[in-house]
Symmetry: C2
Subunit: 185 residues, 2 copies
DNA sequence: GTCTATATCCCGATAGAC
DNA sequence: GTCTATCGGGATATAGAC
């Protein structure tokens, strides 16, 4: 793997675990086994490298969500596939954790990919719900946009509760509550 | 206001906006208009001061939630009072944001008040739901614990989506989806 | 209680040699 | 492309005077 690639991947890992404010160029270099001069040769600085890493993570997350949401099966099955997909709950969301970072939110450049990822996710879930409603697979009274927002929020908030508790349990409970929302009763 | 008090309140504000990792003793001193020596006289260091600030914020949050959840009215009305209570959505949650902070999560001392706050909140909401169910104010099929977790998670995740979007809208949508969950149908 | 001085290390970046 | 040197500043304290 070449040096820019190692730098980007290392930054992805560190942003995930420590956020933008908590990640230093030096830590990135050590994790990537790259020198100071090397990093500043390939990237203009911390923000530039972070942008590349965030875009990469956003693309990965989107691909994984799309795989669950576009699979075979009914709408509720595809939502369920998304809800129950493999997650390191205590590590949290690569993208969602960045929404808490003051320097990310203060920078339009760095915030954009975070924003776009969640916009895309909510619309994608909303479309699945709408399809399912029309096929009678989901309750007809469900508001697709509101329900999609609730699903995305419950996942993000589930991470928060789980990390606070030091256990994935609250995440699972919160997702169970969401499942009830989708029941045809 | 005396110096320790000013230091605690300043730390509360800075933790809310920048998190633990992003808050320096120097910034606290400047915000509190206190000297270096003064701060280290009243507190042993950054972690000590942060603990006092977190405990204070946790107490405040709990009091505000309790006011909504223990008010007069039916169970759905009290939940609604909690959901629609005044919030600076784009600022996020004083306590929830700390769950994203690696140094908070790594320290049992600092994580405890965060954990306890969310435990209390979920149990408190769960009790309200259970009461409402027994009085026929809420659907009998609702699982109190799961629903309470979903409500707490939707609020926390709503903050994440709103901050990513730079707008309170996704928060409001997510809360709307939760309201549907509580409808007697 | 509060002040200033000092210590050690890290931050984020630039410069110029190789 | 990568290295080492250097920069001005901040992080997180400790020491000791007042």
């Amino acid at each position: 793997m070449d040096t820019p690639e190692r730098l980007i991947r290392s930054t992805q890992e560190l942003l995930w675990d420590r956020g933008y404010v908590g990640t230093s160029p030096k830590a990135i270099q050590q994790h990537a086994d790259a020198g100071q001069g090397s990093m500043y040769h390939h990237f203009t600085g911390k923000a530039d490298l972070a942008l590349a890493a965030i875009q990469r993570s956003a693309g990965e997350l989107r691909a994984e969500a799309e795989a669950a949401l576009s699979g075979n099966g009914t709408a509720p099955e595809r939502i369920e596939a998304y809800l129950s997909r493999e997650r390191d709950v205590l590590r949290g969301c690569r993208i969602g954790r960045l929404a808490q970072d003051p320097d990310i939110i203060a920078s339009p450049e760095l915030r954009r990919p975070v924003h776009e990822t969640f916009e895309w996710l909510q619309q994608r879930i909303s479309r699945v719900i709408d399809e399912g409603r029309q096929r009678g697979e989901l309750p007809p009274h469900l508001d697709p946009d509101a329900t999609a927002a609730t699903i995305a929020a419950a996942v993000q908030g589930g991470y928060v509760l789980a990390r606070a508790a030091g256990s994935p349990e609250p995440f699972e409970r919160a997702i169970d509550g969401v499942r009830a929302l989708l029941k045809v009763d």
